[in-house]
Point group: C2
Chain length 151, copies 2
Amino acid sequence: MNVEKHIQTSSELRTTTRSIIHLTLVHHRIQEELQAALKPFEVSLQQFNVLRILRGRRGEPANMFTINDRMVTKMSNTTRLVDKLMAKGYVSRQTCPSNRRKVEIDITPKGRDILLKMDKSVAESESHLLNALNQEELKQLNILLDKIKVK
Amino acid sequence: MNVEKHIQTSSELRTTTRSIIHLTLVHHRIQEELQAALKPFEVSLQQFNVLRILRGRRGEPANMFTINDRMVTKMSNTTRLVDKLMAKGYVSRQTCPSNRRKVEIDITPKGRDILLKMDKSVAESESHLLNALNQEELKQLNILLDKIKVK
DNA sequence: AATGTATATTTGTATATACAATTATTGTAG
DNA sequence: CTACAATAATTGTATATACAAATATACATT
């Protein structure tokens, strides 16, 4: 990708600026592709992420904070994502008996079923996006991303 | 960053899934940092991007399509970004005399002034985010990002 | 010139997200 | 026990973005 051409600038960009723009463009493209993969299931990427987090807990229910901590959105929005997954019957929610401020959210069998189907579609999209990168390059990408200050 | 820990899964992730989650987390963090850098100027990151694109054209005005082509948003939203920059006096807009369907958008001196100030703040944030990466690593990052299928 | 088609932009609207305030419950200091 | 602070989640709302439709102009065919 020619980032300079993309933003149509005649001036040379700082290398840092260039890398950040590049990352933004790639990220946007990935989101588009994954959202398209999920469209037939009428589940948003964020809803998919919630389901995936719940499955990763292997039966142990999660509270809102736990789910939100693994997501890149505010807790208020996570509440609403769970609302929507509830309406579709993909998750259950009940107040935690030992601490009635908390809730216990879990994935339902119906949620697991659709998640399995979505997995397939998402995995194909991911593979397509990244198939020009071998294992060594993926590892290298992760190492470089790790060097970006996320704190 | 331990991506598995972040999404709190006990199962091993596919390496592609892991890389994509990692990229998403890093992207989100970068957006946050840059938005924070722009906050004192009361200009959104997307508004900043429009100004930067216009400056890159060195005096030649741009139409909506040209601006939008360099951005990761829909044209309808770019129209509204320009509306807001107009209201602040940072850009000018007039219908193109040779083709009255088109508009000619340009950055104003006032827009250039604030852009210079914002540049400084944004450059600092970018440097902070990426200062653990040397020139060779930035180059390598761009090469790897280029391998992600954006078509 | 009249009609249909393509191009460029804008408007309307639904969904997504961020931020602030609110509610409910629990913990704790006096 | 009461008052106050801390925690957990939700609700309200403003802004951001995506998608569809509408508007205006230009171009092409007859």
